[in-house]
């Protein structure tokens, strides 16, 4: 039986959510300036209304629920889980008012897709969408990605399956806010460097591709924000294929890989420390998986009979694999071709790449390389245990910032999350298969995996005219996948305990 939260706990969570609402409101109000500069007056009033409403709700919550009580780990988890829902609900207001979605469910879906770094879209007539609203979607991606990394490093025990192991492993680190500020500052330095480098590189690439100088800034912002936050939103319906440029593809690939790389690895690289990077279990797992899945994808594309020349096969195949493996979802070909023209092997490899995902403590989604590596090591260890004499003492270790002994609880917790991901991929796929009209098992599984692993690759099952259940299920999947399940379950348990728990 769960314990009922006290009034003070509700007040603390409400206070923090109020602060979050004010941040989202302020961001929308700041974007009013972008709409004003573009002379998009209806978009300006939409952003102002969204910003005003969000700020009103947030300010009322902050003033009524003000508290000096520190945020501890358990409250932090609840705020993180509820925060994504609350931010999506208010971030959706300008999208709803743009008129490019059928209803509020579709607008919330779009906002949640941005905040979770997914990039699946129910927007209609994207190619005529006001630029300020389009860029607002991209800002949601960046905000959600940044917030997730900070929270993952300080609250969600980055990369591991669960348990209340704080970053420093001691009680002092259970005080969340000081950790959050320190981590946010550190992350900000890394992120700022990547953003500046990304903007410069993409700006040059799109100018070379033939985009006019004034428009190229918007394209550079959109490409950089999507690639670094591993989301699939783009300014045009043709995604990266719009540019027909190998230099744009190269820069975007580099940014996607940077986005899916762990914050800690970036810190090491910033300090020129290569050895700790190469020793890390998740880095080694990533290299092995990328090579295996890359070979499978290229062989599959070759066998499909679609690609007869090596260069187009390599260029299209590698870009799409990197996009899937980093759980970004940007494409160079219409995504429908993945199911109509690429055979079975290549799409299967892409689904596997999406399902596994990127590194921990990064905006990438999926099961995460670290978990895959841990489970693999656990399996190898158990096999060795069977083969060795009973009296033998077997110690398996792995590298993650330091050398750690692989414990049974680590493997068990990791396997639990891995099973949750796999179960959600399959369950979501079954729902999509039965509720979707004309979808087949491959398409349904691809769509479900894309939603749960926060990848934006859709083969067309998810459409604006689809039944509501086909929008609700992926929406929940995106939320669950972003939070890696445990925070979401903590929130659900908290809500269930509200009306009746142990007193």
């Amino acid at each position: 039986m769960l314990l009922t939260p006290r009034r003070e706990d509700l007040a603390l969570v409400g206070f923090e959510l109020g602060r979050l609402l004010r941040v989202v409101g302020a961001a929308q109000l700041a974007f009013v300036l972008v709409a004003a500069g573009l002379r998009e007056w209806n978009a300006l009033t939409a952003l102002a209304l969204g910003g005003g409403a969000s700020t009103v709700l947030g300010t009322v919550a902050v003033s009524r629920l003000r508290t000096r009580r520190p945020l501890d780990w358990s409250h932090g988890i609840i705020v993180a889980a509820a925060g994504w829902v609350v931010a999506a609900a208010v971030g959706a207001i300008p999208i709803y008012l743009s008129g490019h979605v059928r209803g509020y469910l579709e607008a919330v879906f779009e906002a949640m897709s941005g905040l979770t770094g997914t990039g699946l879209s129910l927007l209609e007539d994207l190619d005529h969408l006001p630029l300020s609203i389009n860029l607002w979607r991209h800002v949601l991606q960046v905000g959600g990605g940044f917030a997730f990394v900070v929270i993952a490093v300080t609250i969600l025990t980055a990369g591991l399956g669960g348990g209340r192991r704080s970053v420093r492993g001691d009680r002092a680190a259970d005080r969340v806010l000081p950790n959050l500020s320190r981590t946010a500052r550190s992350l900000g330095i890394v992120a700022a460097g990547l953003v500046v480098a990304g903007l410069v590189a993409t700006l040059i690439a799109v100018l070379v591709a033939g985009i006019a100088p004034l428009a190229s800034l918007a394209h550079a912002v959109a490409l950089t924000s999507s690639a670094l936050s591993t989301g699939a939103f783009s300014l045009r319906s043709a995604s990266v294929g719009y540019y027909h440029s190998w230099s744009v593809e190269l820069v975007v690939m580099a940014l996607m890989l940077a986005g899916a790389t762990s914050f800690a690895v970036h810190q090491h690289l910033r300090r020129g420390e290569w050895r700790p990077v190469l020793r890390r279990l998740e880095v080694r797992t990533a290299i092995v998986m990328l090579v295996l899945l890359g070979v499978t994808t290229l062989v599959g594309l070759g066998r499909s009979g679609t690609f007869l020349d090596v260069v187009p096969l390599g260029r299209t195949g590698i870009f799409t694999l990197v996009s899937a493996a980093t759980t970004t979802g940007l494409t160079v070909v219409p995504t429908r071709l993945l199911s109509t023209d690429w055979g079975l092997i290549a799409p299967a490899a892409l689904v596997a790449a999406m399902a596994i995902g990127g590194m921990s403590a990064s905006p990438a989604g999926g099961i995460k390389m670290l978990r895959v590596g841990l489970v693999w090591k656990g399996v190898v260890r158990d096999i060795r245990r069977v083969l060795l004499p009973e009296s033998a003492l077997l110690v398996e270790t792995y590298d993650h910032e330091r050398r750690i002994v692989l414990s049974d609880s680590d493997v068990r917790a990791t396997a639990t999350v891995l099973l949750l991901y796999l179960g959600t991929y399959l369950t979501g796929g079954m729902v999509i298969l039965f509720a979707g009209e004309g979808s087949d098992l491959t398409a349904a599984l691809l769509e479900s995996t894309a939603a749960t692993s926060n990848t934006g690759l859709s083969v067309g099952v998810l459409r604006p005219d689809a039944p509501a259940v086909l929008k609700l299920v992926p929406l929940v999947q995106m939320w669950l996948g972003r939070l890696e399940f445990l925070a979401a379950f903590a929130l659900i348990g908290w809500l269930v305990s509200l009306p009746g728990g142990r007193t």
């Binding site: 009033t45 102002a48 409403a53 700020t55 919550a61 005529h128």
Partner: protein
């Protein structure tokens, strides 16, 4: 977290919060601009498709074998007009064939040394009802093809489509490349002929006054509340 239930005061605070959220929802829904009943006739290039026609594209079109021709020369047998949906659903069916395609030029004309890439959409927003930005009804997502224009065709494009324009509508004849080696493997149409069939149309939606009023009220209210809250916090 321990052992006391929320008080009546806390429950009423949550009720007020919920009512506030509902009120905001009602206002936002009320000010959203309605669809335009009579869109500009200049936006309708062709009539809407038959609503009773089957929506699922099947790849059963019977096409002649593509004859062997010198490299660069299009096959002599055109197979008629295609839609982007047909080509994307059945790329192998149309690969190498000379087709006709009608669509709105979108976004940018990406000029290169010997021509230009354009994105041409043939969805309802391009050919029937016009862009949503002008108040047109929602008709699904955009769909189109990447088209390579020869240098002499670039001048046919006066203004590509975007938030404030329904762009030039062109009719192009060209060869479908399922995997265009000069485009890194993309699905493209390389035009051999092109003509403009509709000029660009500016989209200038009127200001949504109820939305503007609601926005002003919301921002002023938010500003006032923020000032009050800061004053109260300092005390």
């Amino acid at each position: 977290m321990s052992d006391r239930r929320p008080s009546v005061r806390t429950v009423s605070q949550w009720a007020i919060a919920l009512l506030s959220v509902l009120a905001i929802g009602v206002v936002v829904d009320a000010v959203r601009a309605p669809e335009v009943i009579d869109p500009d006739p200049a936006l309708a290039i062709e009539p809407a498709p038959d609503p009773d026609a089957p929506g699922v594209v099947t790849c059963e079109r019977t096409l002649p074998d593509v004859p062997m021709t010198p490299e660069g020369a299009p096959p002599p047998v055109p197979v008629g007009r295609v839609t982007s949906t047909e080509v994307i659903e059945c790329p192998d069916t149309f690969d190498g064939h000379l087709v006709t395609f009608v669509g709105e030029v979108i976004g940018d004309v990406l000029e290169r040394d010997d021509g230009a890439w354009v994105l041409m959409n043939d969805d309802a927003y391009a050919l029937q009802v016009g862009p949503v930005a002008g108040g047109s009804p929602l008709r699904g997502t955009n769909t189109g093809l990447s088209v390579w224009l020869q240098p002499e065709m670039i001048d046919l494009v006066d203004h590509p489509g975007g938030p404030r324009w329904r762009g030039d509508v062109l009719e192009v004849s060209g060869v479908i490349n399922r995997v265009d080696p000069e485009d890194g493997g993309g699905l493209t149409l390389r035009a051999v002929e092109a003509r403009q069939i509709a000029p660009p149309v500016p989209i200038d939606p009127p200001l949504n006054v109820p939305q503007a009023v609601a926005a002003v009220v919301a921002v002023l209210f938010a500003g006032g509340l923020t000032v009050l809250e800061r004053v109260r916090a300092r005390r």
